[in-house]
């Protein structure tokens, strides 16, 4: 049986534009968040997400239902993100230790407004600091480790699915995630305290 996204894509291939709109509606949040976690800037994340769906639109005629639709969609997203940071590396505008810009602060405030009903100023400050540290920790990861981590933690994908998206073996995904999570654990150690003794 075809997955429902594949059916929508095939309908769109036949010319039903509303199927494409349904796909955008369904996946836009995931795509924006994957790109945002990878790039770290909201406006850029939205622009790139538009580009992802534009590529889906353009590729519709050639689309073949070989795998899950999301695998294809995340592959487009991943390639776009990797190209983007390659471009940035070329013009040397990326700094792993850059301070959070005014735009990003505004963005975090926006996130907090959505998330919390009425947090105290102290809570806002703590959350801001924590978010900044997490952002910095994620930014410090090599590109493919970062993408594997984002797909696993935020999208809940299995190692096998990630391996298909990144075009590598499952073992390689396992290794990448091991190094990424060990690295993140070190960098976030100030927020981690062990008190539990329950088993996994």
């Amino acid at each position: 049986m075809l997955d429902s996204d594949v059916s929508l894509m095939l309908e769109f291939q036949k010319g039903d534009i509303s199927s494409f709109e349904k796909l955008v509606q369904k996946h836009k949040e995931s795509i924006i968040n994957i790109i945002y976690q990878f790039i770290g800037e909201r406006d850029e994340a939205e622009d790139l997400a538009v580009e992802v769906f534009l590529r889906v639109y353009r590729a519709a005629k050639k689309y073949q239902a070989k795998a899950k639709f999301t695998t294809w969609l995340y592959k487009i997203t991943t390639n776009l993100c990797l190209n983007e940071i390659r471009k940035k590396a070329k013009v040397q505008t990326v700094s792993l230790s850059k301070p959070i810009s005014a735009g990003e602060e505004k963005e975090e405030e926006l996130i907090e407004k959505i998330a919390d009903a009425a947090p105290s100023p102290q809570q806002i400050l703590e959350k801001k600091e924590r978010n900044a540290l997490i952002r910095k920790a994620i930014d410090s990861l090599p590109a493919k480790q970062r993408m594997a981590t984002i797909l696993q933690i935020y999208e809940g994908l299995s190692y096998k699915e990630i391996s298909r998206i990144l075009g590598c073996s499952v073992k390689s995904v396992e290794r990448r995630l091991y190094w990424a999570r060990t690295n993140l654990k070190e960098r976030l150690s100030s927020y981690l305290t062990v008190e539990s003794s329950g088993g996994f």
Binding site: E29, A115, I153, L188
Partner: protein
């Protein structure tokens, strides 16, 4: 040593990506080894700290900007340059193939119309008419001619 090897598998264990046998062996080890248990707890906590991050909501203008991009893409595709560009992709290879085929056909028919012996005969007659049949390789009095004369004289003497 066992702890070091096991820790490499901890993340996959916590993500539920291991086979049953490996899973049980790690689970058992964690009940005995406090250091590994602590490491597993920290990795688990860091996972939830990251997962706890707020997700962004797409802006209200997202669909509108996508629609705008699609509209300009389609408009661009309907421009005469774009149509010509697409036609060039089709016409160019066809034109090259046609020229090659015509070249081969003309070449083979030329040989049929004028036999190769006739061509050779005509060539010889032409060379005789302009005096090229008695063409000397080396101009008289040139250095290479003198050298060749000396060499052939030497050959005769030795000869």
């Amino acid at each position: 040593m066992k702890c070091k090897r096991l820790r490499r598998k901890l993340v996959a264990y916590l993500d539920g990506e291991l086979e049953e046998k490996q899973k049980l062996s790690i689970k058992e080890h964690l009940t005995k080894c406090r250091q590994c248990k602590k490491e597993a707890d920290l990795l688990n906590k860091s996972f939830y700290l990251l997962k706890d991050q707020q997700r962004l909501k797409p802006s209200q203008g997202f669909e509108a900007s996508l629609r705008e991009r699609i509209y300009s893409l389609e408009k661009r595709q309907l421009l005469p340059q774009a149509i010509f560009g697409r036609l060039v992709h089709l016409i160019l290879p066809a034109a090259v193939a046609a020229v090659l085929i015509i070249g081969v056909l003309v070449g083979s028919s030329v040989e049929k119309i004028i036999p190769s012996e006739t061509v050779k005969l005509k060539e010889e007659r032409y060379l005789t008419s302009i005096g090229l049949d008695s063409f000397q390789d080396l101009p008289t009095g040139s250095l290479p001619e003198i050298y060749l004369n000396l060499a052939s004289a030497e050959e005769v003497e030795n000869g």
